[in-house]
Amino acid sequence: MSHVLESLNTALHQAFAADERVYLLGEDVLDPYGGAFKVTRGLSSAFPGRVLTTPISEAGITGIAAGMALRGLRPVVEIMFGDFMTLVADQLTNHIAKFRWMYNDQVRVPLVLRTPMGGRRGYGPTHSQTLEKMFLGVPGLRVLAPCWIGDPGRLLAQAILEDDEPVIFIENKLLYLLPVQDENALPEFALTSITYPRLPEYIPGYAPTYSLKINQAPAASLTLAAYGYMAELARQAALRLAYEHEIFVELVIPTQLAPFETEPIIASVRRTGRLLTIEEGTLSLGWGAELQARCAEVLGPRLRAACRVAAAELPVPASGGLETEILPDVNHIVQTAQRMV
């Protein structure tokens, strides 16, 4: 069984082989090092000249990639740590996200910007954050988050090869080493995968939302929503809730964070009446805030209970115990769920 890291790495190789317009720009991406988290390993050997190791210039390389994308290439940018997404905020917000609409739909910016997010490695305040929330509300950007479920590599390959919109691709650091799980690997769960064929620029099979229910369980009384690595913690929590507390949940896992496609989550909450969102970033104006707001808007009083599990509103400390206290974990999820039903 392959890991998420392997799946992403293979997808990059496939994308490079499939389309010679694909380039990659990033810091320290050349072999033998192959990138700080090794997602690009082997790529520069296999495709010399198309994997460009760059100076430490996050804004510059993002802008350069945007220029490449506007002129017919399909660049991928690796930002070494997601914490440095702040450095590319202007390129993303005022350039990349705007071109298509501002130029009256005359251009496309097919660019994928990949970056690892997340803590639990003791890297401290500037190398452990989960900052994607800063970009989830920027019109014109698609934000994807692969998961250990389904096919993370396919998500990446489709983003690179088939999606003409700019994509931010969020990879949680702890996700990398999780084995990729398909239906058969999750015997306790019934897995459904939902896509949105009604969307105007629908790409078949792209960016599915997964829904997990424990097999043969009674009707769920709570919806959990989570993505990326947190979906794994939510899965563990779902099992504990079922076996230890007889609380049955439906776990909904989107792979597209923005634009918000909340239908599957709202559909689930219609059934359960309760929504618990789980994310690794700090609470305020995180992904969960938008989900809760949309649920409240659509469901009104039928949303009987709403809660968010998220990081404490503090920088991520280096000291391990402290870091654990600040970041959300399975216990937080279980305890919050218990309070909600």
Binding site: Y23, L52, T54, P55, S57, A59, G60, I61, T62, G63, I64, A65, A66, G67, M68, A69, L70, R71, G72, L73, P75, D90, Q91, N94, H95, K98, F99, W101, M102, Y103, N104, D105, Q106, V107
Partner: protein, 300 residues
């Protein structure tokens, strides 16, 4: 090479367009604000008259002159400024945010420089032999991303010409308060050869640009052209903090239209003036009659 008459036509077209913009602004036909190219016409015309069809231009807030010298259509620009659906960007972009063929501009200073650099690299990767030209002001040299771009352009040998239009002022801030050291060194420090020129004569600029654009194209390598130039108008509208005398002197000594216009037979020149004015007026009137976009009529 375009002859003297054609060069003059290009210069005066910009001049007359921009004067019309400033004159008509108070009437309320335009949206937002504007940054006119008055006084700097020889830069755009001198440089961009060398472009081949596949070449790329990346411009900034002061983009009307670049756009027109690139060959952009008068009516499309007027319509854009008036927010009409016939504008080059359907009225969505407005004065600072233009796109037409291989011409792009954006209003956030500095951020266009990596973009242009990436475009140049893409053309090189695609072996198109196209040259990219990008314009930036002296004030924009304050933005760090410019240097990130120069470094990479030099390392990867991007076929790009950086044109610095040094009008010695940024909005209201004199270059002495904003640019330490000197401008050419800021390029050579990154290994980018650089030519400096203090002229408002389109022929001189044309000649210098010929050499640099040739080098960029032949050697697939970056070059910089520093043009010391003069802004005749306000930064945008009514916000000139310089003394009127100073501006009058600039206009007297450094007017590209006067300098190059004197090379034309005066009857010919007058004829060109009349025809350009008519062209501009017609474009203006036509744009004025065009419809404005509505949200429901456009794709989300």
């Amino acid at each position: 090479m375009p002859d003297n008459i054609e060069l003059y036509r290009r210069l005066y077209r910009i001049r007359n367009f921009e004067e019309t913009v400033l004159d008509e602004f108070p009437s309320g036909v335009f949206f937002g604000t504007t940054h006119t190219y008055l006084g700097q016409e020889a830069n755009a015309v001198g440089v961009l008259s060398h472009l081949q069809p596949d070449d790329v231009v990346v411009s900034n807030h002061r983009c009307h002159g670049h756009y027109l010298a690139y060959g952009g259509d008068l009516h499309g620009l007027f319509a854009e400024l008036m927010g009409r659906s016939t504008g080059v960007c359907g009225g969505r972009g407005g004065s600072q945010h233009l796109h037409w063929r291989n011409f792009y501009s954006n209003g956030v200073l500095g951020g266009t420089v990596p973009l242009a650099t990436g475009m140049a690299l893409a053309e090189k990767m695609r072996s198109s032999r196209a040259v990219t030209v990008t314009f930036l002001g002296d004030g924009t040299l304050g933005e760090g991303v410019v240097y990130e771009s120069l470094n990479i352009a030099s390392l990867w040998q991007a076929p790009i010409l950086y044109v610095v239009e040094n009008n010695r002022i940024a909005q209201t801030t004199s270059i002495d308060l904003a640019v330490a050291g000197n401008i050419p060194s800021r390029f050579t420090a990154f290994g980018i050869p650089c030519l400096e020129m203090d002229s408002s004569d389109v022929l001189e600029i044309y000649t210098a640009a010929a050499r640099l654009i040739g080098e960029v194209r032949e050697q697939a390598a970056p070059r910089a052209l520093i043009l010391h130039t003069c802004r005749f108008g306000p930064h945008s509208k009514g916000d000139d903090t310089r003394s009127p005398e100073q501006v009058v002197q600039l206009r007297r000594e450094r007017d590209p239209i006067t300098i190059h216009g004197s090379r034309l037979d005066s009857a010919v020149r007058m004829q060109v003036d009349v025809s350009i004015r008519e062209e501009v007026t017609q474009a203006f009137e036509r744009a004025l009659a065009d419809p404005k976009p509505v949200l429901s009529s456009i794709a989300g």
